[in-house]
């Protein structure tokens, strides 16, 4: 038996093309290996934002998880975080519930009891449902409407249907639709824009706030910066939505239909020239002119400082981080570093990066965290100096690691600047500890 993990080089993969991605890199063709590197895939809520945390993005909301006990198990840890204290509740299903659907009749009463037990009425009750109700075909909209009559506040469904994760509307897409669905049409304000896509805000020094300001968009709403429900409701006054994560596209479409708010999409990138292009195209589309050179220069300076200090840095890049592993790898290669490994499941959309990676570094190996033979990945061998991403750090525990997976989101030039500042700090720490 060959005890080697499956990998393919970027050169080989690019040559095969996006129509012939090997089955080892396609998750639905094999069992999914479960290692700490795959935790974010199997259980998004275990690290960062899964459906449960995301569903509580609306200020003042609480969540009732209606599910078998197993689905709420990891919430023990979340409920200990101060911001989620008194916000998670559970209605546990048993086998009789599955057969008779009687749990649905209990939901209105449970919602009422929860609201009565809280010192302050919540702004909204999110009813989180899991695979069981997906299979039962529960009409949760109806159940929520019934619950609403008991408490006189909004009650919303929130679908944690893991079975649909590779479908058209995976759970993280659905939850983004849910959290903006309470907005009601209101008068538009020309200077207001919403940033959609993340459950935590962008880094405070992100240039996007200033650039939007230069375009006359002086008020920016992000759901996580809304201090209360009233402020959240003001998001309906936006002139347009800026979608920063493709998983928010459906939410933006909903807002277009219901609130008449159009949207524009920007991609998170780590290649400075591409970031600049994107901003300028965006500004041009709005008929505006922006001055972003100083931000570009600051980010470039951070790259240069790191490159001057560690010109020969070799990277291993994972997918469990605030980046597209392939785009980030390409950026690192274009800045002159080596990338020896990428952990990720390439999709057709990634081929735009994979082809360029192959041109610069055809020997870069691509692994899928999920493939069964990853059991044999030798974690004692350090192929790189630095890992980026939680998953990459699992494979190389002795390397310098930057998890790059904070809740607060890096974006644009500020994201590049912060990345290289943190890489520099991580390398310096390692040197000092020697």
């Amino acid at each position: 038996m060959n005890r080697e993990p499956y990998s393919i080089t970027a050169g080989q993969l690019a040559a095969m093309g996006k129509e012939q991605i090997p089955p080892e890199l396609i998750s639905n063709t094999h069992l999914i290996y479960s290692s700490p590197a795959t935790l974010a895939f199997n259980s998004p809520g275990a690290e960062g934002f899964g459906v449960k945390r995301a569903g509580l993005a609306i200020p003042g909301s609480v969540m009732l998880l209606v599910a078998p006990g197993c689905c709420g198990r990891n919430t023990t840890l979340l409920a200990e975080m101060p911001e989620y204290h008194n916000r998670f509740f559970y209605l546990m299903m048993d086998e009789t519930d599955i057969v008779t659907g009687r749990h649905l009749k209990k939901i209105p009463q449970a919602v009422e009891e929860i609201c009565q037990s809280l010192p302050q009425m919540p702004s909204v009750v999110m009813i989180c449902l899991t695979c069981v109700d997906a299979l039962l075909g529960t009409d949760m909209e109806r159940v929520c409407r019934k619950a609403m009559t008991k408490v006189d506040i909004p009650v919303l469904p929130c679908y944690m249907y893991a079975l649909t994760r590779e479908g058209r509307k995976p759970p993280m897409v659905h939850v983004r639709q849910s959290i903006y669905s309470l907005l009601e049409p209101m008068e538009k304000k020309l200077h207001v824009v919403n940033l959609l896509g993340y459950f935590a805000h962008l880094v405070d020094d992100c240039e996007i706030y200033d650039l939007l300001g230069q375009m006359g968009l002086t008020k920016t709403y992000e759901i996580s910066r809304c201090s209360d429900f009233e402020e959240y409701k003001q998001m309906a006054s936006a002139n347009f939505n800026l979608v920063l994560n493709p998983e928010a596209r459906f939410a933006a479409q909903d807002m277009q239909k219901k609130l008449n708010i159009p949207s524009v999409e920007l991609t998170r990138l780590y290649q400075l020239d591409k970031i600049q292009n994107q901003y300028h195209i965006f500004a041009k589309a709005l008929g505006a002119v922006i001055e972003d050179q100083s931000y570009y220069d600051q980010a470039k300076a951070a790259v240069d400082v790191f490159r001057d200090a560690y010109p020969d840095a070799v990277f291993s890049v994972g997918e469990s981080c605030n980046a597209d592993a392939f785009e980030l790898s390409l950026a690192l290669l274009r800045y002159g570093f080596r990338v020896v490994e990428i952990f990720g499941n390439p999709s057709a959309e990634n081929f735009v990066y994979i082809r360029k990676i192959a041109a610069i570094s055809p020997e870069t190996k691509i692994y899928s965290n999920l493939e069964p033979t990853m059991l044999y990945y030798d974690c004692s061998q350090d192929a790189a100096d630095i890992t980026v991403g939680r998953d990459a750090s699992y494979y190389h525990p002795n390397c310098i690691n930057l998890k790059w997976s904070e809740d607060v989101q890096p974006f644009g030039y500020a994201g590049v600047k912060l990345l290289f500042e943190q890489l520099l700090a991580a390398c310096r720490r390692k040197e000092e500890s020697k």
Binding site: I32, P36, L39, C71, T76, A79
Partner: protein, 353 residues
């Protein structure tokens, strides 16, 4: 209201119990789920998973697999993985998805056996039961599948059944148990599922006696008694040490327990053994309460099985215990309790030891 939890998150489910029994035995474990259950089992209920590699997989079920009942696809994936991974057996553990679609585990087992040249175990977990139900089924299935041969008895040897991270008081418990039993005269001690591997499970008939340290192990011990005549004893031999440690933490002495009304919340065998240690003091009124299995044979008449959060809260308010010994997280439900609360971690409750 029945089923509603306002203060306590759900405890470890049956699928976690099944996985806990098997995960250290060198087999391939396939969680028959869409991914979230495998994530919860590994990332929350299996502390060993972070420390060493284990062949745990998610079946990666998708909606059409469930709707169309595509068990053949699962078996194909399993057969493909077995070609690439060196394992001693394969186990398929159920979750709510197969429970809802009514998966026939016997048929699944037969299909897998035709494609894979390895022993196959299936555990019909549903995600709706508590961890010890899954453990009980799995311990029994494990010994039925692997301990088939009667062997000469190794004098002085002891097999420990029931040890999983979800049942024991500390991850050091297997070593401590071994030491304790050896002090008491045992020659070799085999802690199934935590230190002793699948070969020792196969040789289960050779031990002189079994020690059951959790109620989930009782059925398997009875099976081994019937099949090989191996006697068994039920107790948690470290209870005295655990009690001393907890008392020190609470700045109390064993003598302080005299005349006190005490509640112990844990798995039944550990709780019973602690009660026995407490009863060395005069006039103690000691009750065991458990959210988990409470076997009739080892239960005292006033012991109580807990199923609902409201029931727990009312019980604590009514009984006015002087001392409660239980996992700290349970205190969230009885925050107005004013007596002494001694923390006795239970991984299946709080995910902490």
């Amino acid at each position: 209201m029945k089923g509603l939890r306002k203060y306590l998150a759900p405890f470890a489910p049956d699928q976690s119990g099944a996985s806990a029994v098997l995960s250290d035995l060198g087999g391939m474990i396939v969680i028959c789920d869409a991914g979230g259950c495998a994530g919860n089992i590994c990332g929350f209920d299996e502390p060993r998973w972070f420390l060493k590699k284990s062949a745990i997989f998610s079946a990666g079920l998708r909606d059409m697999d469930a709707i169309l009942g595509r068990d053949d696809r699962l078996v194909e994936k399993l057969a493909d993985a077995v070609k690439k991974i060196d394992v001693d057996f394969a186990a398929i553990i159920g979750t709510p998805v197969p429970a809802v679609i009514g998966t026939d585990y016997q048929a699944l087992k037969r299909m897998a056996q035709k494609k894979v040249d390895l022993p196959i175990l299936t555990v019909e977990a549903t995600g709706m039961e508590i961890y010890d139900v899954g453990e009980e089924t799995t311990w029994l299935e494990l010994f039925k599948v692997f301990a088939r041969e009667a062997l000469p008895v190794e004098p002085g040897s002891v097999g420990i059944i029931g040890a999983t991270p979800l049942e024991i008081h500390s991850m050091d418990a297997p070593g401590q148990l071994k030491e304790k039993l050896q002090e008491q005269g045992a020659s070799n001690v085999y802690c199934y599922g935590m230190e002793a591997g699948i070969d020792r499970v196969k040789a289960a008939a050779s031990v002189e006696k079994n020690l059951v340290i959790a109620p989930s192990g009782v059925k398997a011990a009875r099976y081994l008694e019937e099949k090989f005549g191996t006697p068994f004893e039920i107790c948690y031999p470290l209870a005295g040490e655990i009690l001393t440690e907890r008392l020190e933490e609470a700045e109390l002495t064993l003598e302080d327990l005299a005349g006190k009304k005490i509640l112990i919340l844990h798995q039944q065998v550990l709780a019973n053994s602690i009660r026995q240690a407490i009863r060395t003091q005069p006039d103690t009124d000691c009750t065991v309460a458990s959210w988990f299995m409470l076997k009739k044979d080892f239960k005292e008449s006033h012991d109580i099985h807990l199923t609902e959060e409201d029931q727990f809260i009312e019980y604590i308010q009514k009984e006015q215990f002087d001392i409660i010994i239980g996992d700290e997280i349970l205190r969230n439900a009885v925050s107005d309790y004013t007596g002494v609360y001694m923390n006795l971690p239970h991984f299946a409750v709080s995910g902490k030891v």
